[in-house]
């Protein structure tokens, strides 16, 4: 039976964030495909959109679709934790529209302006020039204000209710470095080594510390809803996971320090701690197997995407990361398509799968469905994963060829760079990445249409619940 529940205002906002996130996911794929096509036909759209701009759009929108999904997830899940709506929702709604306008304005700048003369004006209005945080400074300030309001929404609510659960403690403590590290997007240092050092703090600690903790907390809340796992179990496991991830991830930052002039001891420290990272991920796999066997589910897609989050994290971050993290290997593999392969699989496993699970949970709860299932999500699940793991495998082959011919044999000269790009291993790997990219895009199209269809059915159900209850729309 379909009964459409009333939503907290923060949950209504969450649905808007999820809509934005899914749209950005699509934009990321479009620019990924354009960049992949440029590897095969370098002249493709060369004049209006250079490769560097397509790449910027691809990776910056990657950060945005995940970040907006994280925000949507917390706006959706936290009212149940606090037993009330979040505070400051008027400001939060303003921030949402500010984000939309800013994203559109920055995208237009990247697509139509692209470059400036390298003055302060360029920094403020065109591009800050640091990978992943290229947005011009005015936009970075809007993002910082938006995150500050988001922190206020959560911390202010916790103060208002005077009751904080273990999961919300973890989320609140994690928001401090999440906001603080973003401040590292602002300094414009003239010393490249110092600039890279702090830039890695922002990128690495967001991805391998604060985001890991955030997705761990979100998945903990999802597990309680999808599988009725007890709070005591979820919170205890979350503390262990956070401790292990931070213990390995924080000093693991050293594995990025090979190319930027940091002291040599970082080679050993970074290699050692990042090589430990698969171990807590293995624990997560065991937990996923245990949960899959022990609990009943009411939301098939959310369940399978949550399970895949554990396995995908182990494969992408654990296995692919372990291949290249020891200093002797990293010296050759760092910055090749091999690391692109690791990046694709790790982001997908650690974050992409988790946020898709939450979006399915949200559309189920928003529509008031007792169960959610069907065939479309299975096609999306299959195509997205075949596409992603196919892309990861193809880039791995291309990256190995690059590391072997360009770095290990050719000594990283420009001639070796060009020669490596012409080897059959590299060329065929890049072609296969493009093919699997198309499969991934097809999976995305089905995913988006499935989510839209479920949301539409729930809207119709709100208008005429009695009719649809008889038809059982949206439920399986």
């Amino acid at each position: 039976m379909t009964r459409v529940p009333s939503l907290y205002s923060s949950q209504s906002l969450a649905l808007r964030y999820f809509t934005l996130s899914v749209a950005l996911f699509g934009v990321m794929i479009v620019f990924g495909l354009i960049a992949a096509t440029k590897y095969i036909h370098p002249g493709f759209l060369a004049q209006p959109l250079p490769f560097s701009m397509a790449k910027i759009m691809h990776i910056d929108v990657l950060v945005l679709w995940l970040l907006t999904a994280f925000m949507g997830s917390l706006f959706w899940l936290l009212p149940s934790e606090f037993k009330r709506d979040l505070v400051g929702m008027r400001a939060a709604n303003v921030v949402f529209w500010l984000f939309c306008i800013t994203i559109a304005a920055v995208a237009a700048t990247f697509l139509f302006v692209q470059y400036g003369p390298g003055t302060d004006k360029t920094l403020w209005l065109v591009n800050q020039g640091r990978k992943y945080v290229e947005e011009p400074r005015w936009a970075a300030i809007v993002v910082a204000i938006g995150i500050a309001v988001f922190v206020y929404n959560i911390v202010g609510t916790a103060i208002a209710v005077k009751r904080i659960t273990g999961v919300t403690w973890v989320i609140i403590l994690n928001l401090i470095p999440l906001f603080g590290l973003y401040m590292l997007a602002f300094p414009a240092m003239t010393n490249m080594a110092v600039d890279q050092y702090w830039w890695w703090w922002l990128v690495h600690f967001w991805v391998e510390a604060t985001w890991e903790v955030l997705i761990g907390s979100i998945v903990a809340l999802v597990l309680m809803r999808v599988m009725n796992t007890s709070r005591n179990v979820v919170e205890t496991w979350l503390y262990i996971e956070v401790a292990l991830v931070l213990a390995t991830g924080v000093l693991g930052i050293g594995h990025h320090y090979f190319w930027m002039g940091a002291p040599k001891y970082w080679l050993g420290i970074g290699g050692f701690f990042s090589a430990l990272e698969p171990l807590p991920l293995l624990g997560m796999v065991i937990h996923a197997v245990y949960d899959a066997g022990e609990h009943k589910m009411t939301n098939q897609p959310a369940f399978y995407w949550t399970m895949l989050e554990a396995f995908g994290n182990f494969i992408g971050a654990g296995v692919w990361g372990f291949m290249i993290t020891l200093p002797q290997i990293n010296l050759f593999a760092h910055g090749t398509q091999w690391t692109a392969s690791h990046g694709h699989l790790a982001f997908w496993g650690a974050y992409g799968c988790g946020v898709i699970a939450v979006i399915y949970l949200a559309v189920q709860e928003a529509g008031g469905y007792a169960q959610i299932g069907g065939r479309a999500w299975k096609w999306a699940f299959g195509l997205l994963n075949v596409g992603m793991y196919g892309m990861g495998g193809s880039l791995l082959i291309a990256g190995m060829a690059q590391a072997f011919y360009e770095r290990a044999i050719g000594g990283s000269t420009f001639n070796a760079f060009v020669a490596a790009q012409q080897t059959p291993w590299f060329v065929e790997g890049i072609w296969m990445r493009w093919v699997f990219g198309l499969l991934f895009a097809a999976g995305y199209a089905i995913l988006a249409s499935n989510l839209i269809a479920i949301s539409r059915r729930s809207r119709v159900a709100a208008a005429a619940p009695a009719t649809l209850a008889v038809e059982g729309a949206g439920t399986r």
Binding site: S230, N232, G271, V319, F322, F404, A408
Partner: protein
Amino acid sequence: MTPMGFVVDAIGLGFFALFGGAYGLLYAASELRGERRLGYLAIASYAAQSAVLLAVVTLSALGPIWKVFLIGSGIAYYFIPRVTLRYLKNLHASGEIHS
């Protein structure tokens, strides 16, 4: 380290982690389902991981410290699924009592 040696080492390290994950997955599944066949597959996965470890330790040009680290990792891989599963069972048992 030769160019080919570095590629082979990297592939070996990937399989080392992959077989470790397969062992953990199959061990947990065999314990939870009580299926002996899965248990054998888990043992086979750990044996494959150990074989890869042996090959990397004896044949690769990695430094001795990294080889010791890998041996320690290999031992940890053996115990993590067992300890984690036992802990989870206890945790769920006490969680169900408290909740």
